[in-house]
Symmetry: C2
Subunit: 702 residues, 2 copies
């Protein structure tokens, strides 16, 4: 484990140990002692001999041996020299609790850079500055001022908010939630979220990685690592705050639709990270992943001592898209033998208000063996005769004996069930305060199992003319032109295997008519100017021209009217183009996120894309499955398949278009954003046509 | 208050008092005593002299006076005679706890009918049978076996699940949630949800009506009463279980889309009931309505001692569609004077991790006075110096002093904040275990305030030819024909002011051509048979016929081909109809819900309605506003307004169409379901046309 010196140090020095209770330098020492840490503890404070029974040294060097871990709690201005002292001595793991760095502005940011430089020079790993510390229950190490040492457990937690970690510790300690490690990463001067997540991945104690993040640093590497990790260990994250990439500045459709949360949604989808909307939800999920076996399917059985909550659970199963299990004949017969006549043997299995623990035990045990059941939700309401504690014991006994399927407890109440809940918790039975949350968690577990079992990603590579694209893009960058004109954008697309409509540029009306004659009618005329992006808005597009006369009229009208509307536009001529008939219009696009790279978009064409915002996003490069899934993720996907006798369009051809575009933008990081709009697709076998394209390039895009 | 004998009885008799702890007849007596009930208590049990210090009589009559309230706990077979004894004696309020009625099958249902009959005969109001009893903290009356008497408070609760009420009581008693009344309504033999809700409406102690229902009996009356009540008192309900009205049997579009939860959604929308998805959510809402002043707007300020939770709250405000408040310059200046330099004065107002109670008090007090702020969420994380209890005290002090705007507390933690939470609760400050739930509650309160302030409902009545519709419908019912043919359906629509396409029925090809000549080309031909509902599916529709020859060909082809496809169809001829050009197609419809009556539907036409299910529902009769809102509730509403230079259609004309249809189905309860599909609408000023209509009638529809 790459951060093991932090989590399993043989000795710890607290630099800035304080005699004064309430001071951080005192609280951390006390937390380390109270937690029961078994390694050596050194205090460092030139003005004190001893604190809480721990000897204090004048300086780090005076200790006479090299502590594995140093915790720095001294004022910011002394941190740099102390870190250097650590470096010289050979301590390789340092937690800087001290605040007063990047978060206070420019001077602090300078100080933080200096800190990072020294860390690199000496090969020290630094957590912080401006953090709460770390907690490693397995080593009984509580090097934090967040709260008491929690129980050991399977949840590894990383937080970019120290205060939130304090809340979580308080909740966890009250409710007996166990952790493998907790890390407050503070300003992330050196160790960042990726380091911690990779370290938790290697940690056998950690069954699920949970975290609260406000920003993600190295986007690409984060996505790659997360994708690898989620294949064997679930990650449940809260991502707070919107993305920096504002939608306003974007000029393309894709850009304007890709703003806000979209990039993060795509990152989470691509890397299999489970996103949580609240701390509550996160712990609902995390406790299940940490403690429960995974479900093999979505068929949920409900065992209850009350009808109402049973119905509510059934409602939740339906709403969440899970399956209401149908117990087998054998199960029903077996239940019928022992349950009272008034019991409901079908799902929800109502064992009645007078059910004692033995009846629960029998029912759970019986239903658990049913092959038609993938998970069980056990509901209990505290009625007059209910034995909540004994029922919890029975549940624990069965879960320990079989441990084959998720059994979630939902004991509805407070004081009357609190002992039972505590017992369930310390025995690692997931428990929920409402049926809705239990079912929601089962849904998430099911999705995760599907994600784990997905086929290996294979990104198809098409034979393309890369050189040609390089030439065009380089020319643009050299000349400082950001928008690639329609003709050259289409050349680029053709180089990557797209079919575009035939056409040429005319500079006179006669020439336009000649081109039209060669193409065959009807044709489209489009004004041709690097300065005009929204051609239709200025009357620069005329469709369905059916004769030489119509073409000439349209040409002359554009040449007369458009310069009046946009006097400074440099008009190069008019594009005369064949018209695509039939087929459906869709839009393919890409917007390059500053952190995560090319974000592919698929959307339904026409006015629909604007009214419904019926688009889907995914990170490039795309596999065939991912491209297809992008289509399926739109609400009007069925329109593509064909509705009411209408013929469907070539779904695979659209998916291939997305993959070709994905290859293009992956191979050319200079392409900042682009749209193919419309991309006209016909029935299977007919090659789609990229009718119009918009593209912008930029030096040094990611 | 209509049920006051239940809630404020001067004396209570428990018929079936038991000496044996654990027995219901003992628990209820004990709960009444322990609750501190001040009225007279009589035990009734022929075999016992005294239980828990209360004298037991051999029979009700032997008591020698008339108890206000009787609680019956004896076996089902003795209940009828005992109820009769109550009747003869003059007791007017009876709770039947005993189970073994409707819920056990036919024999029980018979017994329950008998029970209801006797209740009616003697003018007794009966709650139950098969219920948990009632609780009225204001009278210190706990006539239930659900748990201990809870605190007094503003929440009136009604539950169709007894066990759930037991869970709620346990939660409430642990968390100090106060109630005005709790009623377990059991099988609803006499007193039903409507009686209780109306009684809670009249009850000044009840500030909010909450409940769990599985079924609603008298649909019409329920909607009317709820609409009246929600105008001054919020109702927050859980409705569990799907509707009985299955979608499968329905033959129209509207019918197939109206299934499942749709009717209940419409009922809740129409009557202003706030629907909750879980008990947790319900109490989040209820505590706010019971304790907090209402917000005057959606601008939320956040005061926090930690950045992370502040960002999460900001995220929630954006997601829930509320407004992030912008504090005024004066507020910011005032905050700047006293807060530390590192504090964030803008929203979220971060008063830093070392904030003591006095800093919270100052910030809350200052922000509360800001006219730009409608509500405040106060976040607290338990950090080293945090004074959670003192902060709670400060918050309570300000809330009591000003009581002008909602102040929601969100103290994130457990043991370290539990005393503070308790103090907040008993002092009626709403508190939430996550920022997301606090913000969700503010959203719901805001919606409620808008609902309260909505203009009075006025349903417009159009001049129509009612007689004509009556004649057609009566003819159908007399002849036992359920499906009204297209021609007569259109006659009905015309009688209610709809314009339909011109056309006549032809029985020969020549006649068809003649009709077409008169109408003018192009025309549409439609096969005309009561036995063919889906005309297009059998080739029975031919559009765009442009000449007499084309009309004749089409006529003959239909006459030749269709009888081969449907040999038994009785073909009356072919409808020759003018063709509607231009305009947008929408669908207007109605499906009569067995409980709640006519459910109006509006949907976008074409294949869209099927793929997107882009439809909206509302209960008839419709006001102009409601009809317009139905249009706005579809996702593609903007398509009607006109997108990208495309001209919009006459929105008001569609709304009028819905209102006319609403009047028709309200005046003719025999109409079971109907569609106008397509309803073709053009730009403002052009009368829309009901191109095709489908209608079915039935005797005795509601």
């Amino acid at each position: 484990m790459s951060l093991e010196k932090f989590f399993e140090p043989k000795s710890v020095a607290i630099i800035g140990t304080s005699r004064q209770p309430g001071k951080v330098g005192h609280e951390i020492l006390k937390n380390i002692i109270d937690g029961g840490y078994k390694g050596k503890i050194f205090g460092v404070n030139p003005k004190t001999e001893e604190v809480e029974g721990i000897k204090c040294y004048k300086s780090l060097t005076e200790i006479g041996e090299v502590p594995d871990l140093a915790v720095i709690v001294i004022p910011a201005k002394f941190v740099i020299s102390t870190l250097e002292e650590c470096g010289k001595l050979g301590t390789k793991a340092v937690i800087v609790i001290t605040a007063g760095f990047k978060e206070i502005g420019k001077a602090g940011a300078e100080l933080e850079k200096e800190l990072a430089k020294i860390a690199r020079r000496y090969g020290i790993r630094v957590i912080g500055p401006n953090c709460l510390g770390i907690v490693a229950p397995g080593s009984k190490l509580n090097a934090s001022f967040g709260g008491d040492l929690p129980d050991s457990g399977g949840i590894g937690y990383i937080s970019q908010s120290g205060a939130l970690l304090a809340s979580i510790l308080d909740m966890a300690n009250t409710n007996h939630i166990g952790f493998s490690k907790l890390v407050s990463i503070g300003n992330k001067a050196d160790v960042d979220e990726l380091d911690v997540i990779e370290s938790l991945d290697e940690d056998p104690e950690t069954k699920v990685i949970a975290g609260y993040l406000e920003s993600i640093g190295n986007g690409d590497a984060f996505v790659r690592a997360a994708e690898r990790i989620t294949h064997h260990k679930p990650i449940v994250l809260i991502k707070a705050g919107g993305t920096a990439a504002g939608a306003k500045a974007a000029s393309s459709h894709t850009g304007s639709l890709a703003g806000g949360e979209t990039a993060y949604e795509a990152v989470f989808a691509r890397s299999g990270i489970i996103r949580c909307n609240s701390i509550k939800q996160q712990f609902d999920y995390a406790q299940a992943f940490a403690c429960s076996p995974m479900p093999n399917g979505a068929r949920v059985a409900v065992i209850t001592n009350a009808g109402g909550p049973g119905i509510m659970t059934a409602d939740a199963i339906e709403r969440q898209g899970l399956t209401f299990a149908k117990p087998s004949k054998e199960t029903i017969a077996k239940l019928a033998e022992q349950l009272p006549a008034a019991a409901n043997l079908y799902n929800p299995i109502d064992i009645l208000g007078d059910a004692l623990a033995d009846r629960y035990e029998f029912a759970i045990d019986t239903v658990l063996d049913d092959e038609n059941v993938d998970a069980i939700v056990v509901l209990l309401t505290p009625q007059a005769m209910t034995q909540s504690l004994e029922t919890a014991e029975a549940l624990i006994k069965i879960a320990k004996k079989k441990n084959s399927k998720p059994i979630f407890a939902c004991f509805l109440g407070a004081a009357k069930v609190s002992d039972a809940l505590k017992l369930l918790r310390v025995n690692n039975i997931p428990q929920y305060d409402s049926p809705e949350n239990a079912v929601d968690t089962l849904r998430v577990m099911n999705n995760y199992v599907r994600w784990k079992n997905r086929p290996k990603r294979v990104v198809k590579l098409f034979g393309v003319n890369r050189r040609k694209v390089e030439t065009i893009i380089e020319k643009h960058l050299r000349q400082g032109i950001r928008e690639v004109g329609e003709m050259e954008a289409k050349e680029i697309l053709e180089a990557y295997g797209f079919k575009t409509p035939k056409g040429s540029i005319a500079t006179t009306a006669d020439q336009a008519a000649n081109i039209a004659e060669t193409l065959g009618y009807p044709v489209v005329l489009k004004i041709w100017s690097p300065d005009i992006i929204h051609k239709s808005d200025v009357g620069g597009v005329k469709v369905g021209l059916k004769s030489a006369a119509e073409v000439k009229d349209a040409f002359d009208l554009m040449m007369y009217r458009i310069p009046k509307k946009i006097p400074n536009a440099h008009i190069l001529g008019v594009l005369v183009q064949e018209m695509c008939k039939g087929g459906k219009e869709v839009i393919l696009g890409m917007n390059r996120d500053p952190q995560f790279g090319p974000l592919m978009m698929f959307g339904m064409g026409g006015t629909m894309v604007e009214v419904l915002k019926d688009v889907s996003f995914y990170l490039a490069p795309l596999t065939t499955d991912e491209a297809r899934q992008m289509l399926k993720n739109t609400r009007t996907y069925r329109m593509l398949e064909g509705v009411r006798g209408e013929e469907g369009v070539d779904i695979d051809a659209i998916a291939e278009g997305l993959q070709r575009l994905s290859q293009l933008v992956t191979e050319f990081p200079q392409i900042k954003e682009m749209d193919i709009n419309p991309y006209v697709v016909g029935r299977a076998g007919i090659t789609p046509i990229a009718v119009d394209a918009r593209m912008s390039v930029e030096e040094g895009s990611k």
